[in-house]
């Protein structure tokens, strides 16, 4: 249906309002298949809202969001089907606390994809292996460290074999020593050709992995560029100020 050159995600003049507050102001953005994008910006700049609109966790107020050729509107019949193609990783992990790790990884496959039990289990174990914690399969989330929980959350999203992965500040809730184990998994995923949108403050990750870095402020997309240009020659004063603030130490 759609050409391989067509963007897998296309945002056209997307705005989002909460009452009078404009969280997003006419955002235009195209993401190609396999592209890795890091979204950064000060808190309240709308970066989380932006990626949450892409799987319709938030409904945009105006403009168009087109995922893989399907436009998201309130008439979108099967939003669950669209969502199952978009993996999402949250700041607070959000593992189901009453299910074992294995069950966390198989439940959506079973319910949404109707995958047979054994196959769902194999897929789960494959991705648990990939995030390097297969031995934790039968534990409950609370028995794992934060870093391990977040890796499980990534594996859980991957079990649905999504075409796009969204990361909403995946390392912000982690103790410093656990950040790198999660970033390693994300780097590994990036090298695999996954289309990724990451909201993160990990500028090292942005530098080494991103194809494009996007800077947002006050709901607007201020600047986007390759990491090299973005970090060394920011075009806008606000971008430069932000970079000076977060890279000061």
């Amino acid at each position: 249906m759609n050409n391989t050159n067509d963007p897998i995600i296309r945002l056209i003049e997307v705005s989002k309002r909460y009452g009078k507050f404009e969280a997003l102001k006419e955002i235009d953005l195209d993401v190609r298949k396999g592209e890795r994008i890091v979204v950064c910006g000060p808190s309240g700049s709308g970066k989380s809202t932006l990626i949450r609109c892409i799987n319709r966790m938030e409904e945009h107020t105006s403009g168009q969001i087109i995922i893989n050729g399907h436009e998201l509107t309130d008439k979108t019949k099967d939003i669950d089907a669209v969502r199952s193609e978009i993996g999402m990783v949250f700041q607070s992990f959000n593992l189901f606390p009453h299910m074992t790790i294995l069950k966390n990884l198989t439940i959506a496959q079973r319910l949404v994809r109707k995958t047979p039990k054994a196959e769902a289990r194999d897929t789960a174990m494959h991705y648990l292996g990939r995030v390097k914690i297969p031995e934790q399969a039968n534990k409950y989330p609370i028995q794992l460290s934060g870093g391990q929980q977040q890796r499980v959350a990534i594996a859980r999203a991957l079990c649905m074999k999504p075409q796009i992965m969204l990361f909403d500040e995946p390392t912000s809730a982690l103790d410093p020593e656990m950040i790198s184990e999660v970033l390693d998994v994300m780097v590994d995923l990036a090298s695999d050709g996954m289309t990724m949108l990451c909201v993160t403050h990990e500028m090292g990750f942005a530098r080494s992995v991103a194809d494009r870095v996007i800077f947002m402020d006050h709901g607007q997309l201020i600047e986007q560029a390759e990491p090299e240009t973005f970090f060394n020659h920011p075009q806008h004063e606000r971008t430069a100020l932000f970079l000076r603030q977060i890279l000061r130490h």
Binding site: M57, R83, S84, F90, N94, H98, M99, L111, V112, I142
Partner: protein, 227 residues
């Protein structure tokens, strides 16, 4: 007053155990089903469903169970159309009336307990479920419900215990539950003090057993909260 009479009385009162626990079990089961329906109405987000559920809750919380039992047992049979309806086979019988009254009550209170449980489930978990493509009804069944039940359990247990004691009210409409039998024995022996103390001890014992069972269930359902 000899110990013999008390032992005798206890054994006779225990004959009412079937009716007492029949009332408890049936009205708990029916009431819990009503509670889930009311809960779904409350959280449906549609006013024409949530308002009737709220009205129901106000009516049953706002009136004594004893009065409700009297209305159902003495009041309803005055209407011809009720005597002609399919409900008459239940409502002509004091046991049926007690079940109806207690179930309707349990439904009101337990739906509030469940609602508290449902509201306390972390919204992030439901978002995670939604992001995986799990549908709204399935999110309720597989994520919200199990967690809400775990959270509701202590309050639900209290409700079971308070229901056990409410069943004693059924003795006022001629039912021979444990309390009903005790009243008969008192009328025969003129020994209210000993008989009612014995009855109280029986209730305390059963309450203790129920409480232990709920504790154990809480521990079992809460196993995922232990590191």
């Amino acid at each position: 007053m000899s110990v013999g009479i008390i032992m005798d009385a206890i054994l006779r009162m225990l004959h009412g155990i079937g009716i007492t626990f029949g009332l408890l079990g049936l009205s708990l089961a029916i009431g819990s089903i009503i509670a889930v329906l009311l809960l779904l109405m409350r959280i449906s987000g549609r006013w024409w469903l949530s308002w009737p559920a709220q009205l129901y809750f106000y009516i049953f919380r706002g009136t004594p169970i004893l009065v409700q039992i009297f209305i159902i047992y003495y009041g309803l049979p005055q209407f011809d159309w009720i005597r002609d309806s399919m409900f008459w086979s239940v409502l002509r019988d004091p046991f049926g009336c007690a079940i109806v009254a207690l179930s309707l009550n349990v439904g009101a209170y337990v739906s509030e307990i469940f609602r508290g449980g449902v509201l306390s489930v972390d919204k992030g978990l439901l978002e995670a479920g939604a992001a995986l493509g799990i549908s709204t009804p399935q999110r309720f069944i597989y994520i919200t419900a199990p967690l809400a039940i775990r959270i509701s359990l202590p309050a639900y247990g209290n409700e079971i215990i308070s229901l056990l004691k409410s069943t004693a009210l059924a003795s006022t409409i001629t039912l021979a539950d444990m309390t009903g039998i005790a009243r008969t024995i008192v009328a025969e022996t003129f020994a209210p003090y000993q008989i009612f103390i014995s009855l109280a001890l029986i209730y305390v014992t059963f309450t203790w057993i129920i409480q232990r069972t709920i504790r154990w269930t809480e521990g079992y359902l809460g196993r995922f909260t232990i590191r």
